[in-house]
């Protein structure tokens, strides 16, 4: 018997309504202009911008990327034109798309910079949500904010007072207990957590006996890290109440579904954008198909519904 189900794949992240749960991850989608002509941008659930800082940043020494088994290392170093140029030159294009725009932000030296950025973005109607990138591994810091629950709490609760917009805290996998950090973000008033950022890694050219990227170490992304990411989403899902945006090596519908079943309310497509710009749109239609085929009316019917392993 064929049932005519029209699956509902809309989701809510705090006060942010998404028509579908598929977004594009920060740093893998530029400011969306770069993908013009390659995909119909209006179909995306949301766009997360390349991370913005207060001042322009030139970024790290090249070479900045290298390929690794089923993955890649990057050390871009948050190259961006700064908040002023972003608002003047990049935001108008994003506004025209009419889909939720999530602006990723980071501080270079002092956590105060987050407050400056949040205050400015709070005034912009086109900004639907703010992602706090406290987990970039490429800033040559000894310790990241997201590697300390107290610092995470302090940072998030500080900016929470400055805006009613949806706040998403992006977490690092380079920690002993990611759920501890996720709990701190939740307690501090974050509306959601996004995980995972890249895992730190290194690759060596044995003929030159030199690291293959200019800053020696970088962040590993791509399908190589997917099992780590899925496990962390599952672990955090069991500890917190706020929604999770899951990411880490999502390439297609199947890999996106893993994250949803593990507990992610929404997913972000990252590295896949580089090699298959259509990946996110393929996942949106793939999700609908999966739900229709399996007679699932609402995405929430499968979110986090992980069952025990059956032989």
């Amino acid at each position: 018997m064929v049932k005519n189900i029209k699956p509902d794949i809309s989701v809510n992240i705090g006060n942010l309504d998404l028509k579908n749960p598929v977004m594009v991850a920060s740093g893998t989608f530029g400011y969306a202009e770069e993908f013009k002509g390659l995909i119909d941008l209006k179909k995306l659930g949301a766009i997360v911008t390349k991370t913005i800082t207060v001042k322009p940043r030139p970024g790290n020494l090249p070479p900045r990327t290298c390929e690794t088994p089923s993955g890649m290392l990057n050390s871009i170093g948050l190259e961006n034109p700064g908040i002023g140029v972003f608002i003047r030159e990049k935001l108008p294009f994003l506004k025209k798309l009419g889909i939720p725009v999530i602006v990723s932000i980071a501080a270079e030296d002092s956590p105060e910079e987050f407050s400056v950025l949040v205050s400015q973005l709070d005034k912009m109607a086109v900004v639907s949500a703010i992602e706090l990138n406290i987990s970039c591994p490429n800033l040559q810091k000894d310790k990241l904010i997201s590697q300390d629950p107290e610092e995470t709490f302090a940072l998030v609760s500080g900016v929470r007072k400055l805006t009613n917009k949806c706040l998403i805290t992006k977490l690092s996998p380079n920690v002993t207990s990611i759920s501890e950090i996720a709990l701190a973000a939740q307690e501090a008033g974050s509306n959601a957590v996004a995980l995972i950022n890249t895992l730190t890694g290194m690759s060596i050219d044995i003929y030159k006996r030199a690291p293959r990227i200019g800053s020696w170490v970088g962040g590993l992304s791509g399908p190589a890290i997917r099992p780590v990411a899925v496990k962390m989403v599952w672990e955090v899902y069991n500890k917190i109440k706020i929604p999770i945006i899951g990411m880490g090596g999502i390439m297609d519908t199947e890999s996106a579904m893993e994250f949803i079943i593990a507990g992610a309310t929404a997913v972000s497509v990252g590295t896949a954008n580089f090699l298959n710009p259509k990946a996110s749109l393929e996942i949106i239609s793939g999700l609908r198909q999966y739900m229709a085929d399996n007679n699932i009316a609402n995405l929430s019917n499968i979110t986090g519904r992980l069952q025990a392993c059956k032989d």
Binding site: F29, E34, F35, P69
Partner: protein, 263 residues
């Protein structure tokens, strides 16, 4: 033109000699809109290893398709060389800015155009030579040895004046192609008539061409090669230092003016 991502059919994929291969794929649209110096991002496999596309410059175009000249240097290009006619190939292109070249309206005898190629650098310069053949470009092709000299027949057929340089002297001028360029420029001065240099090849060669052209006050356009993750400006991975800060080889380049780069 906007770039396209398409799955298209391979028309042919043949070994030229040594590790050098020619691959031709169908796409009148990409062919019709491509500019010399632009490139194609090729996905060589369906799986995730190797993960990223391979950027390969456009060698020739015709009504039906695009021809690439590539060298098998690693696993990605090895897999590409195993493709057969009729196989589907996932490509994105045309990408990058391409060369700014003289149009036919300029008087053919008014400008001396010099193309400098090192090794695989011949690939985009054949496409360029085709577009500017009315200027009878002078083409300098450099390689380590005779066996690595590519495309001499193509350049001659286009009516170019061809001079070959090999490091070991097994063919033509003995020495670097940039030494050959210096020697030629010592005889012809830009005061006599304007000279334009276009170059593609390994980094040390391009650096030398930039130096020579700046010293002689000759405009030069250099096509660079870098490891790329995306190929269309999103990842900011392939940047090079320029006088105006870092620029992306994939989107702001691959062609840069000799005078704007910092080495």
């Amino acid at each position: 033109m906007e770039k396209l991502q398409i799955k298209t059919k391979i028309i042919s994929n043949k070994k030229l000699k040594n590790n050098y291969w020619h691959l031709e794929f169908e796409s009148g649209l990409i062919a019709g809109n491509a500019v010399p110096g632009q490139f194609i991002e090729v996905k060589v496999n369906y799986g995730t290893d190797p993960l990223l596309r391979r950027p390969i410059s456009i060698h020739k175009v015709n009504k039906a398709g695009v021809k690439l000249l590539y060298e098998v240097v690693g696993r990605g290009t090895q897999i590409l060389s195993e493709k057969r006619p009729g196989d589907l190939l996932d490509v994105i292109g045309p990408l990058g800015n391409g060369f700014e070249y003289l149009r036919k309206t300029a008087r053919a005898d008014s400008t001396q155009v010099v193309l400098v190629a090192g090794g695989m650098g011949v690939a985009p310069l054949v496409f360029l030579a085709e577009k500017i053949k009315s200027f009878s470009p002078l083409v300098l092709v450099g390689a380590r040895k005779k066996e690595q000299v590519l495309c001499s027949r193509e350049f001659k057929a286009l009516g170019c004046k061809l001079i070959i340089a090999t490091d070991d002297g097994s063919l033509g001028f003995k020495g670097k192609v940039t030494d050959l360029l210096k020697e030629i420029l010592s005889k012809e001065s830009p005061a006599d008539r304007p000279i334009n240099i276009y170059a593609c090849g390994p980094q040390p060669m391009l650096k030398a061409v930039a130096q020579i052209s700046c010293e002689n006050n000759i405009p030069s356009q250099l096509s660079l090669e870098r490891h790329m993750a995306c190929g269309f400006g999103a990842c900011l991975g392939c940047v090079v230092p320029t006088k105006a800060g870092y620029k992306r080889v994939c989107k702001d380049g691959p062609v840069f003016l000799g005078k704007e780069l910092i080495w």
